[in-house]
């Protein structure tokens, strides 16, 4: 970006570019390029939907948690996910879309959520594995987003990151407890980790070579790291955690590379990833059907609350 380059633009574009260049935040009432706004709406909405849909895989285990302590923890965690969704929907609303519109787009299958939530939670160990690996991967993704160029998104991410740390630690602690239990419990943990490892790696999105939007998103400061960088960071973090836990990852190519100073690892099954993204994962239909049912079942509550508010307002009006 040179001064000459700016002169060819309209003034608002130049102001926007200069703000990004300085590392300053863009705020809701600033002029922004249409592409920037659309990218943010898509990304924040997708993120919000992921938090909301993400309540389902673990929510099913609340009634089956093995102790009151675990039940209270899981309830708090799932409630946090709802809260994260709400922070993000309100960040998206600063861009001129409404939460209701975004919900309708999700229910119509026109907006996506993270592919990880289309995998089933088959055993209680999955609650721990999701906390450790899925929330761990989410943290890797989200920490750099605290510095994203769009102010409301960054502020939402700061709140979310503070809370995710509890999510990851409760998951790891749950698995540690099971690993100190019976052989059957240890096997249950290993089986769960085997199922979730590759889908967790896919959470960072396609390889950089196949991620056409990354360059523009990074130029705008919306994204701070490439998919492959974040994936590598996650692998490097996770391996020592797995060793401490006493589990292995299902990847024969996983080994330390002294030269690179990183772990080498195998290639996720990107065909499977594309299938899940396109709606053919194990639970896609179930997740959306459940979300739609919850939305429809709650309609009367939303209507009743509005009717009550209208009635109260009318009563105040008459009393004047």
């Amino acid at each position: 970006m040179t001064a000459t380059h700016h002169e060819t633009h309209d003034e608002p574009q130049a102001v926007f570019d200069a703000t990004i260049e300085r590392g300053d935040r863009i705020e809701p009432r600033d002029w922004m390029p249409e592409g920037y706004r659309k990218t943010l709406v898509r990304q924040i909405a997708q993120h919000a939907h992921s938090e909301i849909i993400g309540m389902q895989p673990e929510g099913g285990w609340i009634t089956r948690a093995p102790s009151l302590r675990r039940k209270a923890i899981l309830l708090a965690k799932v409630q946090d996910e709802a809260g994260h969704g709400l922070y993000l929907y309100s960040a998206a609303e600063t861009l001129g879309v409404s939460r209701q519109e975004l919900t309708e787009l999700l229910l119509a299958g026109r907006q996506k959520y993270s592919s990880i939530f289309n995998y089933p939670t088959l055993s209680y160990a999955d609650v721990g594995t999701i906390g450790w690996l899925v929330d761990g991967a989410a943290i890797c993704n989200q920490v750099p987003l605290c510095r994203t160029s769009y102010g409301p998104y960054g502020r939402a991410m700061i709140r979310i990151c503070k809370e995710e740390s509890f999510h990851q630690r409760q998951g790891y602690e749950l698995l540690s407890t099971m690993m100190r239990g019976t052989d059957e419990q240890r096997a249950m943990v290993q089986e769960s980790v085997d199922r979730f490892w590759w889908p967790a790696l896919m959470m960072f999105g396609p390889p950089d070579a196949d991620s056409p939007n990354t360059a523009q998103s990074m130029a705008w400061g919306v994204k701070r790291n490439t998919n492959d960088d974040l994936r590598q960071r996650f692998v490097d973090m996770s391996v020592p955690q797995a060793e401490a836990l006493g589990v292995t990852f299902p990847d024969p190519e996983l080994r330390w590379n002294d030269e690179r100073g990183h772990y080498d690892f195998g290639t996720p099954d990107w065909d499977e990833f594309m299938q899940v993204v396109q709606g053919n994962g194990p639970c896609n239909a179930q997740r959306i059907a459940h979300r739609r049912r919850a939305h429809d079942d709650g309609a009367w509550v939303r209507e009743a609350a509005l009717a009550f508010a209208d009635k109260q307002a009318a009563a105040v009006g008459e009393g004047r």
């Binding site: 809701p28 009432r29 409630q79 209701q100 519109e101 975004l102 939402a156 508010a309 307002a313």
Partner: protein, 120 residues
């Protein structure tokens, strides 16, 4: 300032000429948007923390407690309908802020005081 509204959340937003991706027919009237301010602890100001939807003022306070203070983040909550907020225009070069730009004498550093004068 009349073209500004606060319906976008997280502070006032101009809706005029801001294109939005209208997903589909909106079938239901949406709960109004509220902006939420939380006093973190005694002695601090209320600070804007975000926004939420609620049918009325009382519900907005209850929702604000659940959404923004799950971990003792506050001792007091204010909520205000977003459309009740009046805001200055966003541009940093806005003439509204111009009067403070050329009054350097409002700042303590404007004044030269000998270095050996204490406590000033």
């Amino acid at each position: 300032m009349s073209e500004l509204t606060a319906e976008g959340g997280h502070g006032a937003v101009p809706l005029k000429d801001v294109p939005a991706d209208k997903g589909g027919a909106t079938t239901q009237r949406e709960w109004p948007l509220y902006e939420v301010f939380v006093r973190g602890k005694r002695g601090l100001n209320h600070v804007h923390v975000g926004s939420l939807h609620a049918a009325d003022d009382e519900m907005a306070v209850r929702h604000a407690r659940d959404v923004y203070t799950r971990r003792n983040e506050g001792v007091s909550i204010w909520v205000v309908r977003a459309d009740a907020i009046t805001a200055s225009s966003p541009d940093e070069k806005d003439p509204l802020f111009a009067p403070s730009g050329d009054k350097v004498y409002r700042h303590p550093t404007f004044y030269d005081i000998p270095a050996d004068v204490p406590h000033m």
